[in-house]
Symmetry: C2
Subunit: 345 residues, 2 copies
């Protein structure tokens, strides 16, 4: 259990909830709406071409935390939108965009597992994953158009372009041990936080709130998404992370230069730096390399340091909510931040 | 020159232009607008992430016929839209969507050549091709939103979903010698004709013409696109098709069941049928197989028969234009159909 300290130390310094933070409050608050979101997803995954609903059903069955659509529902509710007609449809659009990027990511990464199941590309082939991703992305825009808000279309189209830019930037920084923390943060802001930001912002847009409220919720999502991805990258080196349902050490084997690696590399001696370059840049692996990587990351407290950064972003996310009325939905959005930081999966 | 008859016989039966039909009239009529389309494309391919403009510049430099954006410009002009503000932007969107699908197609097909140059996936890798395709697709929607027409957004989003469906359906019919002509036409209508149809239709939409005019131009594009793809599939078995700038016999090696193959198979004896199944279904190739495929296709006049089908669709495309005023732009749109059928590349 080499990372036990890192994984559980978070509850000693983060804002202290009475129990381990969870998503349950948020899930319970938006439960009825999320059932409708699932129905919109299923309805719009329909196609005469049998392979599309087959592959899509595989994805829906695999589940996931559904963080992003819940953010749209929660934001809309925080803004008093209540049972307005568009929140559910737009939450489904956000999940469609996310699912499309997951499908394409798995092709790019050649992943064999996603959420603990065989990934779509492993099961259906890269071709189908690319094309069904395109289908879901296009359908997301079809559903968005139905809501009639050009502003929402603009926000989600822009976010989609930024996500792709972030993924390309990640390709450019992969296998490059010269990647700075700044460049890493730029990658995760684009590839992950942008959609969290857009998902949260559009809740305020459909509720027709002020530009300041919109911006506050956009930042809530951006900061939360950044913290979320930082923890994702920590979990990739955690001995417990098999619970994530991903292959252990994916980022290491792919040569993705994430913050734990950047910190361990910056603090390493010449011999250690050569090790990181051999693995990450040359992709020349030997038996025991992942163990050694984990040992070096532990040696320099790189997971704790990464979690500290996540905690900072989490605190900024919570601070953006100060302008909104107190209540159950705001409490749940705060706890969602705390969950993202302390989550073991 | 095994397919000389097939390739040149078209001018004996198609509507007889005075000279070999070309795209020149259309190109000349929309030349000024196409320069502006290119500028919109270049402007919107911009990204701080250097790999994106690098790959995009490679695509722009590779050129292509730019049929689809010209259709939007021509349709708008036919509908009297003239120098309205949105035709150029929307033509660029159409080309963006097309380019995104080409990038993803090349990944799916593992093509090494595109328009006579090394394909983007061969040069930059599959990952970059998937992601830059996503980027271009998202940017297309960003530009569309600026034109403010939800109806155009709807048409192009729906078309994008249909294209992806067509590509998935093509995957399902690949390597299946049981594919009928009907199933083949369904594939090419979705993967190719849908965007031709949408590109033409949106010209009428921004010109605010009647639903009947819109539908006529949509059908013009659908029929033209179907003819265009039929000829594309004929050219893949033509001895001259190295001028296409594609690898010779791509469809054969990929096991894509196109109309020439369907016709040769339907007419073949048991030995010939076994040959097609070995190649297309089992993907078990021997030296000389492409030559034998071409010989069998010639034996049953399958290219001529396919071109007859293309000609039928071309005639239907031209007929849709009867409701519009005569003039230079209509003449150019008629000649564009004739070019698509008789084109040697």
């Amino acid at each position: 259990m080499p990372f036990e300290k890192s994984e559980y130390s978070v509850t000693n310094t983060a804002p202290q909830p009475k129990t381990q933070p969870s998503l349950d409050s948020l899930v319970n608050l938006v439960d009825g709406d999320m059932k409708r979101v699932n129905q919109v997803i299923i309805d719009n995954m329909h196609s005469e071409v049998a392979l599309i609903p087959q592959l899509a059903t595989h994805l829906v069955a695999a589940g996931g935390k559904r963080m992003r659509p819940m953010l749209t529902l929660a934001s809309a509710r925080l803004c008093g939108y209540g049972d307005g007609p568009h929140a559910v449809d737009l939450a489904a659009c956000v999940e469609f965009i996310h699912t499309a990027t997951l499908l394409h990511d798995d092709v790019v990464d050649e992943s064999q597992l996603r959420r603990g199941q065989a990934s779509a590309n492993a099961l259906f082939g890269n071709e189908a994953s690319v094309l069904v991703g395109d289908f879901l992305f296009a359908r997301a825009f079809v559903v968005m158009v139905k809501t009639g808000s050009l502003r929402v279309l603009d926000i989600l189209a822009q976010a989609s372009a930024v996500i792709a830019e972030g993924e390309v930037l990640q390709l450019s920084t992969a296998n490059d041990m010269g990647t700075s923390e700044e460049a890493y943060l730029e990658v995760i802001t684009a590839k992950t936080a942008a959609l969290f930001g857009a998902a949260s912002q559009i809740g305020a847009v459909i509720a027709e709130r002020s530009a300041e409220d919109e911006e506050a919720l956009r930042l809530y999502g951006i900061y939360l998404g950044t913290a979320f991805q930082l923890i994702d990258d920590v979990l990739d080196y955690s001995a417990h992370q098999a619970t994530l349902g991903k292959t252990v050490g994916d980022d290491f084997r792919d040569g993705k230069v994430t913050l734990p690696v950047i910190i361990a590399y910056a603090n390493g001696d010449e011999d250690e730096k050569a090790f990181w370059r051999r693995c990450m840049e040359d992709q020349d692996f030997q038996d025991g390399d992942l163990d050694r990587a984990q040992t070096l990351i532990r040696k320099y407290d790189a997971l704790d340091a990464s979690m500290d950064r996540a905690r900072e972003f989490g605190e900024k996310a919570i601070a953006t909510l100060s302008r909104f009325d107190d209540g159950a939905i705001k409490d749940a959005m705060v706890e969602a931040v705390e969950f993202c930081i302390s989550r073991p999966y």
